[in-house]
């Protein structure tokens, strides 16, 4: 369990990092918190030639709220730092809750928010939160800058639309409107395990009815799974047992999880449905 030889480069600026990533002849990987990458290297399931460490880049290390009240989380921001941030806790509470479900404190002390998004483990929490909260991801390379919607960013298990030479520099969560509420729900066997199934629900309320709904599942597909039919079923009515039941019944058709040694597909689907019910109710209560 020792990695094959690689070159290690610590970048000290974004410009330097993307220059290093632009060397097309060698296999280069961004090294963020290393909590997913290093196990892969230690088990020799990956043999990159160069690791570019981005955690020493000062401009990526902060959490900033801009004039639009959107929050920018830089690529070097550790999950623990984000978890402790009072602005996130009050403005984007589901993000804080979700981070609390990532592994254990030791993992969160090193793992980064952006690294989790770039890695896109199908059972990971943050990609689903990004999709549910309409986050924007900023990618830079020597070729320029791209702003990507979370909805378009994740394209399969352990895969995103990031190109080899692109660095995800930050993720931006827009201000959550008044009269909206969100909920994060996860089932895992032990505290700290990757999710067996989970859901992020975001509702907006107009008067007595749901005016917008997001249901984004994780652990039940290759990437975050948004179930439009379930969202549809909640619109233009208050949240009631029957609207919730209608939303959940749409899951039966729309979710197609795979089974593994820890949970059958049927069990994951059942959990997703149960979590969705709890999540919808909690999000609705929080719509204030």
């Amino acid at each position: 369990m020792k990695p094959a030889p690689f070159d290690y480069r610590a970048a000290h600026s974004v410009a330097e990092a993307i220059r290093l990533l632009g060397d097309g002849d060698r296999e280069i990987k961004v090294l963020a918190g290393g909590q997913s990458l290093l196990p892969v290297l230690n088990m020799r399931m990956g043999h990159p030639d160069v690791l570019v460490d981005i955690c020493r880049i000062p401009e990526l290390g902060s959490i900033d709220v801009d004039s639009q009240e959107a929050v920018h989380i830089g690529a070097a921001v550790r999950q623990a730092q984000a978890h402790a941030d009072p602005r996130l806790r009050s403005g984007w509470p589901v993000l804080t809750e979700a981070i609390g479900h990532i592994g254990h404190p030791q993992i969160r002390n090193r793992g980064t928010v952006c690294g989790s998004l770039a890695h896109n483990d199908p059972a990971s929490e943050l990609p689903a939160v990004a999709v549910a909260l309409d986050a924007e991801l900023v990618a830079r390379s020597q070729r320029g800058l791209r702003r990507l919607n979370a909805a378009d960013f994740f394209d399969g298990p352990f895969s995103t639309v990031l190109e080899e030479d692109e660095l995800l520099t930050e993720v931006v969560f827009p201000r959550q409107p008044a009269w909206s509420g969100s909920s994060f729900q996860e089932f895992s066997t032990r505290v700290g395990d990757f999710a067996t199934a989970g859901v992020v629900v975001r509702l907006e309320r107009a008067g007595d009815v749901v005016s917008a709904a997001r249901l984004v599942f994780f652990g039940v597909g290759g990437s975050p799974v948004r179930v439009a039919a379930a969202e549809q079923a909640l619109l233009d009515a208050p949240v009631t047992p029957s609207s919730t039941a209608a939303a959940v019944s749409a899951l039966e058709e729309q979710l197609d999880p795979v089974g593994d040694i820890h949970a059958t597909a049927a069990f994951r689907k059942e959990l997703a449905a149960q979590l969705a019910v709890t999540g919808i109710n909690q999000a609705w209560e929080r719509c204030a």
């Binding site: 990695p3 088990m43 066997t189 032990r190 395990d193 040694i261 820890h262 059958t264 149960q274």
Partner: protein, 789 residues
Amino acid sequence: MTPEEEGPAPFIGRSIPRVEDDRLLRGQGRFIDDLQIEGMLEVAFLRSPVAHARIHEVDLTAAAGLPGVVAVYNAAALVGRVEPLLNSEELRIPEGIRSTIDPVVRIQPMPLLASGEVNYVGQAIAMVVAESRYLAEDALEVIDVRYDELPAVIDPEAALEEGSPRVLLEAEDNIGIHLEHGTGDVDQALRSAAVIVEDTFASQRYVPSPMECRGIVAHRDPFSGRLTVWSNTQTPHRVRGHIASCLGLPADDVHVVAVDVGGGFGQKGILVVEELLIPLVAQDLGRPVRWTEDRQENLTAGSHAREQIHHITAAADESGRLLAVRDRFVVNLGARNMVGLVVPYNSLCHLIGPYRVPNVQIEATGALTNTMFTSPYRGAGRPEATFAMERIMDRLAAKLEMEPAELRARNVVTPQEMPYQTGLLDRRGLTQQYDSGDYPEMLDRAVKMIDLPRVRTEQQKARVDGRYVGVGFAMYLEATALGPFEGAKVSVLPSGRIRIHTGAPSQGQGHRTTFVQIAADALGVEMGEIELVAGDTATIPFGVGTIASRALVTAENAIHQAAVLVRQRILDSAAELMEVDPADLEIADNQVVVKGSPGSAMSLAELMRAIPMTQGGSGRDGLSEVSYFQPPNYATSSGLHAVVVEVQPATGRVEILDYVVVHEAGRIVNPQIADAQIVGGTAQGIGGALLEHMQYDEAGQPVTSTFMDYRLPTVDTVPDIRLAEVVCPSPTNALGVKGLGEGGAVGPPAALANAVEDALSPFGVVIHSCPLTPDRLWALLRAGRATER
């Protein structure tokens, strides 16, 4: 001499804080990975990626040429040099068992490196020795092996079927062990029984998972010519013997030292190929060599345990009194029968546990499969047997519509029946006899502690609210103090301090505290004046080790014996020098004092210095004695786990509401350490009950080869465990002690399965195996819901 005759014993029975913790907590432990020797090389193994194949040409050329690679080995490099591995001590069949039972025991020696055929994923094929582990692993990637895959068999019962593929090409079939043993007439008893229940209960495969993986350092000292081996073994003298015979060296030229060990649990108690190969390399190269097992190796190529399937029948009269038990069980031995009868026979002779069963018939079969071999793990066959017996007891209670605790109360052996003979042969092949115990008292205590009537009332109330609460019990015995012997050497040092040596090292059990308590009492000196060095073969000629809940009973009795002898020598020598009668002397504050006149005293240091100077004395130093203790019988400990759970039917999640362990292990030397052993074992047992499961796919690929997938209990899994103790001193030894290291791990799977089944009884769920994961319980519930009452 019994402790009573020596007057009040000040240290035994007291919760002396562990003397080892200060050092360990400050990071001053010395584990295998902490050893640094100038010029040390590191070893990495190429292990089979397939479950069964013929292998051709293990080509090492490219690997040998890589930078930093010092040596490469394959099976061809060992031909004519070393024999395949045999755990000879474990494989001996006691005469009584041979003559009465005549078991089939087929042994398949383990080649140190696979030759011609591999039989499980993880089997060592080649070995690279390099300047660093990184370079050694680089070299593994360029070793070329051709595998012609062969059919693999993973399921032990499938392996026993006619026409199953052979696990080993040259074997006649896949049977490693077969035996039948019993007492009375089961068929006859079944004919007269009022109730008969039969079912199948299986224990899944576990990995013991010590916190520190296995490791070994070997170095031939050019000055002495001796080979020193630092190993995190539980049995240093056995390792010494094997290395010496394997390398053709006199045993005295092999010095094995067990360093600090981060848990063993049995996995470090058997001999493995790596333990022979590393010394061989050190001899060949004349340089220090280290192998540190990594977690993936430990999970796939460190020995596994537990996997057994029991088809068990129990019969009783209408009042619930057991008439007969019949059990046919299969043990998955893995790719080789490495430890013979040890585990199957331990299951056999612990099956009926605390119960009076007049008619017993047990058939045990050990099946070979293309999986990692299995060996003892904390409990060593007892948890598997207990799971079968305690599950069938609850099935019987259900059929009789009787409170499970009441059914147990009607069947346990009573103190008046002690010593109790079961009619079976024990592991030594002698009449099985329980020395002491009070099982009715344990049941009473447990029922009171969990407040069974209250739990039953709450269970009813909860059901009305759609909550499912259940209670489960599991009782078991633990025959401890395995022989044949353990030794101790007790010496007064020139400083007047005392040093003890024994062959039974600690893997965390706190021997430096408990062993010293016993010596301090016997010598009459303070504990701080005594130090313990355990597991260094240069310091005591013979030893067995710390396995099978034996260390406390065997080593402490040996220490006690040796210390009593040394005390007498101290008094005799001092009497000679002080010209008084030895009977007028006593030891106090590390001095020999004339009773009643504290002014006339001689310190132990003065005594030591005076002995060589004494003209006309006996010339004998002798403030040092070696004594060996041979346990005359097993000291039988016992335990009872009672647990209350709530199960969420929607998710299959089990929550433990209350967990009580009542244990009995004779006279307790150090209650705090004893309690910690029980709690630690229980935590491991809870892990197996709720989470742990080493799994292979159908092709024989391990699919739980990291801690992400092989799920150990964490602090969130294990509740506070409430303990109570019953004390029945063992009549088998002077100290009255019994072992208890394994016990805690024996009860949880049965107790939790019983509790979960009780909670889910409205759904008609029957638990046949663990782990009780949400996924598995949910599937059972879904199947059960169809028949919801």
